[in-house]
């Protein structure tokens, strides 16, 4: 199979996942007690039966299920995710307003996690069984056993309450009205605690993966060949072992993306980071079902696009994948 066919298949998968997400969402709406008409009538203050009926007719809720499904699917395809119950704005607009903050935080966390994880993993693999190796493994074990949101709160306790060196809440200093470089520095300072809370967890898993991969690749024939032709240990480790060991990490980063979103929701809430995660919490407390569902659809589509991107990157990094 050539690369074009491989990418086409992955593209098809992304489309199928998106369609499935929309179908699942349509049926999730029906899980909630009452429909949009009863909710809107309840908010208007006088919920008589005639009003509910007219609202049902207005929003097409009295039509047969397949018709409603078709209307829903075509609306989502046009980017219409409904209106927020509470804010009376289109759901998509509200989400898009918050999305850049989340992407900033996640991008930072992913970059730190990848760089730190690969470095730590390579270090641990150099001497398997050493104290450093055992330390990385023990740390990873500990990170897997604590709730990420709690880790964030402990970071606040240490760095904001006790040491008072880093801001615990928000994305920038309220009322300071910094501009230019000062503002960037201010946002960066606010990003350290939430970003590191997210990053440390994934750093631990990338470190473990890099370590296993490097030890596995080190045992292969081409590494022995490289050593036999007189390359230094350093060159062998960098150009032969690490490069090959990194390939699975690309796929792993894609798979982790869906977990990263879950972690982001929690960490954003701990640090009051004004992103999509805090928006999800606001939607839950306000019982704003369309908004919550919209967040699910948007994050699911973004994650599946990110997966498509890592799949393509993988096929470029490892030509052998085309044989599968």
């Amino acid at each position: 199979m050539n690369r074009a066919a491989y990418i086409a298949r992955r593209l098809l998968r992304t489309v199928l996942v998106t369609v499935a997400v929309v179908l699942v969402s349509f049926f999730l709406i029906r899980l909630a007690p009452g429909d949009a008409a009863t909710v809107m009538a309840g908010q208007s203050g006088y919920a008589d039966e005639a009003l509910i009926q007219s609202l049902r007719a207005e929003y097409g809720l009295d039509q047969p299920l397949p018709v409603q499904l078709w209307k829903y699917v075509s609306a989502v395809a046009r980017g219409d995710l409904g209106r927020s119950y509470e804010r009376r704005q289109p759901v998509l607009d509200i989400i898009l307003e918050r999305l850049p903050n989340t992407l900033l935080l996640d991008g930072f966390a992913l970059a730190v996690a990848l760089a730190g994880g690969i470095a730590l993993g390579a270090l641990a693999a150099r001497r398997p069984g050493s104290a450093g190796d055992a330390g990385v493994t023990a740390l990873a074990m500990l990170f897997y056993a604590v709730p990420q949101f709690w880790l964030g709160m402990m970071a606040v306790l240490v760095f904001s309450v006790w040491l008072a060196v880093l801001p615990p809440f928000g994305i920038e200093t309220m009322g300071a009205d910094y501009t230019g470089l000062m503002r960037i520095a201010d946002v960066a300072r606010h990003m350290i605690l939430p970003g590191m809370t997210l990053a440390l967890y994934y750093m631990a898993s990338y470190a473990r993966l890099t370590r296993t991969q490097m030890i596995e690749v080190s045992g292969q024939d081409f590494v022995r060949t490289a050593r036999a032709k007189g390359l230094s240990e350093r060159q062998v480790a960098r150009r032969h072992v690490l490069r090959n060991a990194l390939i699975p990490i690309i796929t792993y980063a894609g798979l982790q993306a869906s977990i990263l979103v879950g972690g982001t929701v929690l960490v954003e809430n701990v640090f009051s980071w004004p992103g999509v995660g805090t928006l999800a919490y606001e939607a839950v407390t306000a019982r704003d079902n369309p908004l919550l569902l919209g967040i699910f659809i948007v994050t699911a589509v973004l994650v599946s696009l990110f997966n498509l991107f890592t799949d393509i990157a993988y096929s470029i990094a490892d030509p052998r994948v085309q044989l599968q």
Partner: protein, 279 residues
């Protein structure tokens, strides 16, 4: 059975971590079971001033924002964590084994469909789906358990399918088929016992991660409002963290100790079960 079980137990207990994990886990189970006997007033009873430090007024773990005994909350929280962790894992393993076995054994369209479904759950942000599910059907113990099972069963299904795919062409399966055993009998009496080790390992690991997921849901206010859980204790004490560290630190430590114990047990099971599989 005894001949298999004893060496397995010996291998499992040979690792100090497994032994520690098991002892800690048994202690937590004991606390969870004894909580209503030790503290009959329940975790919501107000016992004194709010935010009393540990050790004051005869409260070894202090009091929370509403003046409730933290120690009682911690003991009752163990009940919720274990109940959710174990029952959601049982549901997920049950569904995963059934679907994975059928897909791996029969292959074909059934297998294709199952693989697409598990892929779907792997790609979508499962925690956000869980939030939507629990929020839409109202937060309760049942919706938490079913929700967690719903997003975790595909992991089991994938493992079981892989095992069945590898085992279905082996001689003992051929032999069973030749003597006329039914498909059901081959799946459950021939292949399943041989596929058990990885199922046991993944199951033990899932209990811990289900406990973490439950704590996250409760932290966001999506837990059962009538139950005191470790996650809801942390969520409720967010505003008090600055003046009363124990209200957030202690429930988190309880979660960490429980999940660490479960992961130690899982690792131990993995080590103890794998030598036979390597042959």
């Amino acid at each position: 059975m005894k001949a298999v079980l004893l060496p397995f137990l010996a291998r499992f207990l040979a690792r100090p971590q497994s032994l520690i994990g098991l002892c800690v886990f048994i202690a937590i189970v004991a606390v969870a079971l004894a909580a209503p006997l030790l503290f009959p007033k329940g975790p919501f009873a107000i016992v004194g001033m709010p935010l009393l430090a540990p050790g004051t007024n005869g409260l070894p773990a202090g009091s929370d924002v509403l003046g409730r005994d933290m120690l009682v909350g911690l003991a009752y929280g163990a009940r919720v964590s274990l109940l959710v962790g174990i029952s959601s894992t049982c549901c997920a393993v049950g569904a995963g084994v059934l679907l994975g076995a059928v897909a791996g054994y029969y292959g074909g369209v059934v297998d294709d469909v199952l693989m697409r479904v598990t892929e779907f759950f792997q790609i979508i942000p499962a925690f956000v789906l869980l939030m939507v599910l629990v929020a839409f059907v109202q937060p309760s113990l049942a919706s938490t358990v079913i929700g967690i099972a719903l997003i975790t069963w595909p992991q089991v299904a994938r493992v079981v399918r892989g095992e069945f795919l590898a085992l279905r062409t082996r001689e003992f399966v051929e032999a069973a088929r030749l003597v006329g055993e039914s498909d059901m009998s081959i799946i459950f009496r021939q292949i399943l016992p041989n596929a058990l080790p990885p199922i046991v390992v993944i199951g033990s690991m899932m209990v811990g991660s289900a406990i973490l997921t439950e704590s996250a849901l409760s932290f966001l206010g999506l837990g059962d409002p009538d139950l005191m859980s470790w996650g809801s204790m942390i969520g409720a004490s967010r505003s008090a963290m600055w003046v009363a560290w124990w209200t957030t630190v202690l429930p988190g430590v309880a979660i960490m100790v429980t999940v660490l114990a479960l992961n130690f047990i899982g690792d131990g099971l993995n080590e103890a079960l794998s030598p036979r599989r390597r042959q």
